[in-house]
Point group: C2
Chain length 296, copies 2
Amino acid sequence: MDIENLLKEEAKRVNSFLKDILKQYITYPHILYNSMEYSLFAGGKRLRPILLLWTFDMFDDNRQPAYYYAAALEFIHTYSLIHDDLPSMDNDDFRRGKPTNHKVFGEAVAILTGDALLNTAYEIMVNASLKYSDSLKKHLAAQHEIARASGASGIIGGQIVDILSENKEGDSDTLKYIHTHKTGTLIKASVRAGAILGGCDEKSLSVLDKYAEYLGLAFQIIDDILDVVGDTEKLGKTVGKDAKTKKLTYPSLFGLQAARDKAVQLTEKSIDQLKYFGDTANVLVALTEYLCKREF
Amino acid sequence: MDIENLLKEEAKRVNSFLKDILKQYITYPHILYNSMEYSLFAGGKRLRPILLLWTFDMFDDNRQPAYYYAAALEFIHTYSLIHDDLPSMDNDDFRRGKPTNHKVFGEAVAILTGDALLNTAYEIMVNASLKYSDSLKKHLAAQHEIARASGASGIIGGQIVDILSENKEGDSDTLKYIHTHKTGTLIKASVRAGAILGGCDEKSLSVLDKYAEYLGLAFQIIDDILDVVGDTEKLGKTVGKDAKTKKLTYPSLFGLQAARDKAVQLTEKSIDQLKYFGDTANVLVALTEYLCKREF
């Protein structure tokens, strides 16, 4: 399976949907459109939308409704990056090799752009529910997953604890909280929302839940490792920043080797879960292997 | 009718619901709970929740579902105030006589608190829809109103144009855009969502739409006038700030007397609309008169 090519093709489809929906929802003020477009199309891998779509595909053939939720996830992910990068937060000047939103549009517009991305995500989901009114309950259950993952018990909670942990002695409980919440919850919600929209049964959902939990943790640990050993140019962001700000990360707490071992172990555990689905999950297995084989 | 007392009693009920729902949704991190609580209970009049509830009351007796949307409106309103007050936006140190959120909790927590309030508003609404699943369509239609009013074509669009208009020559079109979007849309959504949840007919909805449009404009013009002639102590915020930052306001563009005349005229027009409903709208009429009789 040529997973790289599959991902590229899928990202293209997601991008084209994102472009259409942005135009549909944001007509004015122009600076808001430009700023939202700038960050939405700053080179994201579209991991969350693709996870949602590929999970959905396992249970349903008609993808149209799922695209709205895929788009909503990318809007939410992008908003969280813009706000995380702000001077009062992580104060990052570069993201994916490009100047961060506030470096281009200024802080005020960056904050409001994040707000607009978050709000538009919900507008998109609410309107999708109204459009596919014969499956309202599935739609609302998917929204529930995404809303929970985006909120205080998800990425916002994770980001607050992350910021508060800077320059402090940390412990493994705090680290686990940050990892699970800051990255893990939205990855899990992508998988769960895709499965729910596809109409999967309870047992499948609980298997996929575990799959996504391991995947999310592996993904975050690898991100942390890359911040230590990665190449600034390749990653498109400043490496070594976590150490400078004394961020609580897996490598800082347990060392690089233990972090690598943990990432491999979690990846294996996540792929193990997918065996339950046999060949149907082949593409998700390939994606998981690919994600966790980033050089680290 | 003792409207002041009615408002006080209603605000108490809204506050008690807000307190319960905040506890239910935010258990951790504690600083997030404290910060959300600080701004939610910093002395707001609960105008939007009360508008929703009193409009709802005209069409339905069982208020329980409406409280969730009333709460969501106040969460959204509070988030928008916290973000508007930030140093990179309006840079306000005081709001309703108390230090603004970022003065107490710092900028990073203030931004994330706003994000959490916005996101929690949607969590509350999505869960309310799931709870009252026999009237899903009404719930989604109400969410649609609130989501639209909160987004790029609502308060976020208004705030962006407001910020960009500072220290610039403004015209009446820009001013109308700011007024309609920054304050008007959420006030209108409060009324419309209340009516929709209550199950009102199309004709009633279009009458209430006009009522809310006039009310929203009157309300914003009076706010602008109070910034010129008001008493800092009474208002709990610094007056004269609009002039200092050369904000585009009704008094700055047309003069104080024209602004006063316009506010009176809009109030009369809004009350005129309510005549369609006869005595059923008495309490809304009293509220409108009360709001527009703030000393100006």
